[in-house]
Structure formats: C-alpha cells, structure tokens
Symmetry: C2
Subunit: 133 residues, 2 copies
DNA sequence: CCGCATCCTTGATGATACTG
DNA sequence: CAGTATCATCAAGGATGCGG
C-alpha cells in the first residue's frame, strides 16, 4: 500500500498537532499561567519581595503545599528567585526576576479586559441559561 | 468569648478570600481561557466563520467531545455564536461575537510575550534541573 | 454532519501530620 | 518558619457507541 488510508492520515495529523501543541510557546505560557495560584503569586510579588508566610497571608485560601508547589514551578521557569537566609528560624524570600516582572503588564492588560467585559459575560451567561431552561 | 481565636480569624480570612476568588473578573477570565482548547478555538475563529468539522480539522488532537464542550462554554459566555442550518446533513457554523473578537489582541499580546521569552524559560528550566540533579 | 450519553483514567488540588 | 510526606478527592479529559 503506497498510499495512506483516511484513518492513517487522521492519525498522522493528530500526532503532528500534538507535537505542535507541546512546542507552541503561547500554549506553554497558558499552561504556566493557568496553574491555579500562579497569577495571584506573581501579582503579589509585583509589590516587591515577599517571604513565604507573607504570600500565605495574602492568599489564605491556598494551602501551604500548593504555595510551595507553585512557587517551585515558577522558580524553575525563571519567573522568580528564591533565597534562603540561614537563621533561626530560617527566612525564605521570593522576588520576581526581570522576566517575571515583564509579565505583569500582560496580566494588567488581562485585568483591564476582564473588568471591561465581565458584565457582558455574565449577561450572556444568564441569557443562555434562560433560553435553555 | 467576644474575640475570635487565631483559628477563627484564619478561617474567616480564608472564606473571604474564596469569595473574592469567585468574583474576581481577572481570575474568571483566566478560568475561561485556560480551558485546554478555548484559546485555540478563538484563534481559529479569528480567521472567520467556521463549521464544526473545520474546527475539528484545525485541531486534530482535540476529541469531538471536547470541541463541543468548549464551544458550548464559549457560546454561553458570549464569545461566539452558533447557528444551525437545517439541511441534510445539518450544518453548524460558529462565529466570533464582537466581544470574542476583542479578546484576540490580548491573545496576540500573550503570543508576542511567549515568543520573546520561551527561550529564556527553557534555559531557566534546564539550569534549574541541572542544579538540582 | 453534529452531538449527546456513558464509562474510565489520570492529574490537580486539598487535608492532615511530621521534620530541620 | 518553611517546608515534606502521605492519603483522599474530584473534576477534566479521552474513548466509544448511539441518535436526530
């Protein structure tokens, strides 16, 4: 069989697309930012260096485990730095890197759009739900 | 006991923060956009009206189920409209609403940032993994 | 062609308890 | 203070089959 079946073509297209998805910069960024606490942490750090407990107080609904996990992930990707001060008790401080800081305007733009359109979204949602009651 | 215990204060703060999270426009937008296929669909529709099967071909790695689910969700929130042409077989077309279209520049900004910084992210990741080997 | 229903797997999140 | 470890939960996503 020198030619591919329709099935094979679909399969190849799917594999190629998955490959693309895995490397697409935009999609990778979306993945990073869509972590439940990532954007909140970046916004908190936009106000300056913070200690672990400070972040915990700013985000009371996040468990310590999730804070650690998200902070580690953001550190790994170069959005922030973690510095430990050997004292008793230890002090750990988190600070945005220049790259992390450069993302703040994007978050601000998202906030502006959200503030401007959230009303319309809620209206659309209510209308949709009413029409499909 | 006229005053709250430390435990009660923490609990209250947590409840208040969860309330805030549920109403924060920015966070709601992040929720919508972080649906695995939402941004890809919006980008595809930015090129004009598309039929269901067209979108499926553009995103081969998405199952039909997820396409339907994501499209419904975006329709409900007013990002796009769905119109059915009663024929045999039926034709279903999806088009961005003005609000949906207004989100495209934001996605473009995210893409620009991602393209500019994805290299740095990968470097940071490699360095982090090497340091913690 | 389009989409719903069902079953199932898996990763993300949370609660709790313990350590340097 | 700043985690780590473990267990439990739950919703998102994927596979498959049927129906208008």
């Amino acid at each position: 069989m020198a030619t591919m079946t329709a099935e094979q073509r679909r399969s190849a297209a799917k594999a190629a697309h998955e490959e693309y998805m895995a490397t697409c910069p935009t999609h990778q960024l979306l993945d990073i930012m869509s972590a439940k606490w990532a954007s909140l942490i970046l916004i908190e750090l936009a106000g300056g260096t913070r200690r672990f407990a400070d972040i915990g107080r700013a985000l009371p609904s996040a468990s310590a485990k999730m804070l650690t996990q998200t902070l580690r992930s953001l550190e790994r990707d170069g959005f922030l730095t973690r510095s430990v001060t050997p004292a008793v008790p230890v002090q750990v401080e988190y600070t945005l890197t220049p790259m992390g800081a450069s993302l703040i305007p994007l978050l601000a733009a998202a906030k502006d759009w959200a503030d401007a359109n959230i009303g319309a979204i809620h209206s659309a949602r209510a209308r949709y739900d009413a029409d499909n009651a």
